[in-house]
Amino acid sequence: MNSFSYVRVSDVESALREGGAAGSRFLGAGTNLLDLMKGGIERPQRLVDVTRLPLTAIEQLPDGGLRIGAMATNSDAANHPLVRTRYPLLSQALLAGASPQLRNMATVGGNLLQRTRCYYFYDSAFAQCNKRNPGSGCAALEGYNRIHAILGASDQCIAVHPSDMAVALAALDAVVRVRGPKGERAIPLGEFHRLPGDTPQRDTNLEHGELITAVELPASRFTKSTYLKIRDRASYAFALVSVAAALDMQGSTVRAARIALGGVAHKPWRAMQAEALLAGSALDTGLLRKAAAAAVEGAKPYRDNAFKVELAQRAIVRAVQTAGGMA
């Protein structure tokens, strides 16, 4: 790991002042950043430790929604009674990620800022990685691309976003609260992460010096939900494909559906066409298969990840069936 300086801040004003300086990076628990620094992928000159900021509260909002402080740990968010009882989808997704030790460390804000686990990004022995070194090419395009994207990729980058939590947040229409040098703003989860396009080095739309202060969830009417994660081993592995499915049901009719996919794109992937197909209909397997097919329309698989196109569809069908009590 390269040498760097470290400062711990205890209030948001100091964090913004310290974090805004050139060469500074915010340090949450470091479960991803330190890992990347050990590999020489990230080389910050100065780390601003924000884990002691008073941003750990998880509290109900006046409109019935929920605010989760950015420094709440993944464990605390997953286990908070309001999250478990009102947003079980989020709790499930959090508990599907990483390991108990890592969840005890990792913050909610940091989870959103995880970087891809693309092998070619993570291993500096590979010269080609547009995300690591813009303009150098993409080794995954011709390489072993089993874990890579099938949707929304570009010829510059086919990496996927690794978070489970963010997939649930996408389905739940979460909003990310941010403070920075230019003030405060709210970014809908769907606009927080970016598609790679020709700037794959940028994972999110955060500007330098901007600090995530909270994630807010609207009051949930999606009382039936499930998070389904498909991976190479039963626990402690990133998703090959995951599905966050949430349903607002009236009897046996779907009033509204929310479906988001993980492991298939550079950001949590909302399957809006599939959601629209399900709205207003009864849940039957034929319709579900049609909706699942719509979700992967335009998918572009590579040499080793074609299986994800079929897997994603089957996972959608199963997740929605489970959420709706059909499985």
Partner: protein, 211 residues
């Protein structure tokens, strides 16, 4: 000078620790030690480990794992992958299990850290240590300190009603029964390359009062 950087760092850091550190050979004020080590980046800090304060001067890039092993001489905590993938480095910080390899020592100034060396009380093994011995829950033993610290955290989490990926319904806030499936899921952050898993599960259940 025919001395490796690692050796040099070790001796300089040992000299930087005031307390009765196992391999400290000199008691040098922190600033002098910092200068001796040649690092303008050395930061003074106190780590509270197993109920004892250790005054140190460390570079910010020293992980908690390396601070424990290389600077405090507490080598019970093991370095497996050093990348957060194996759990061998698991310790308890403020009562919670974490991976010490992915955490900076300076970020834990003021925290209460417990390692495998701090679990036994007055010569009596912790219930989990005793259960691991009794259930023969290890072969080579390298992952064992991490497994045991992790299991201590697990039992505290379960007692507090924490859910897991094995929970049938996270909306059910009642305390969990530690089934094999629950223990396996909750211990999934600790890899055992010898494959002692069945006996580890038995030991955790035994210590948790479920078997």
């Amino acid at each position: 000078m025919d001395i490796s950087k690692r050796r040099f760092m070790q001796s300089a850091a040992a000299a930087a620790a005031f307390g009765a550190v196992p391999h400290a050979s000199a008691q040098t004020p922190v600033r002098e030690a910092a200068q001796a080590a040649g690092g303008e980046h050395l930061q003074p800090l106190t780590l509270n480990v197993n109920g004892r304060p250790y005054v140190l001067a460390l570079e910010p890039r020293v992980t908690l794992l390396d601070a424990l092993r290389e600077y405090l001489g507490l080598t019970g905590t093991k370095k497996g992958c050093d990348r957060g993938q194996c759990g061998a480095c698991t310790v308890l910080v403020n009562g919670r299990r974490i991976n010490s390899c992915l955490s900076l020592a300076v970020a834990h100034a003021g925290d209460e850290i417990v390692t495998i060396e701090g679990l036994a009380r007055a010569g009596k093994l912790h219930a989990l240590q005793a259960a691991f011995v009794e259930q023969d829950a290890f072969q080579c033993g390298y992952c064992t300190p991490g497994q045991i610290c992790s299991a201590v955290g697990l039992l505290a989490e379960a007692a507090a009603g924490a859910a897991s990926g094995a929970s049938a319904d996270v909306r059910d806030l009642r305390q969990v029964a530690l089934s094999d499936a629950e223990v396996r899921e909750r211990m999934s952050g600790n890899i055992c390359r010898c494959g002692a898993y069945p006996n580890i599960v038995a030991a955790v259940k035994k210590a948790g009062g479920a078997a």
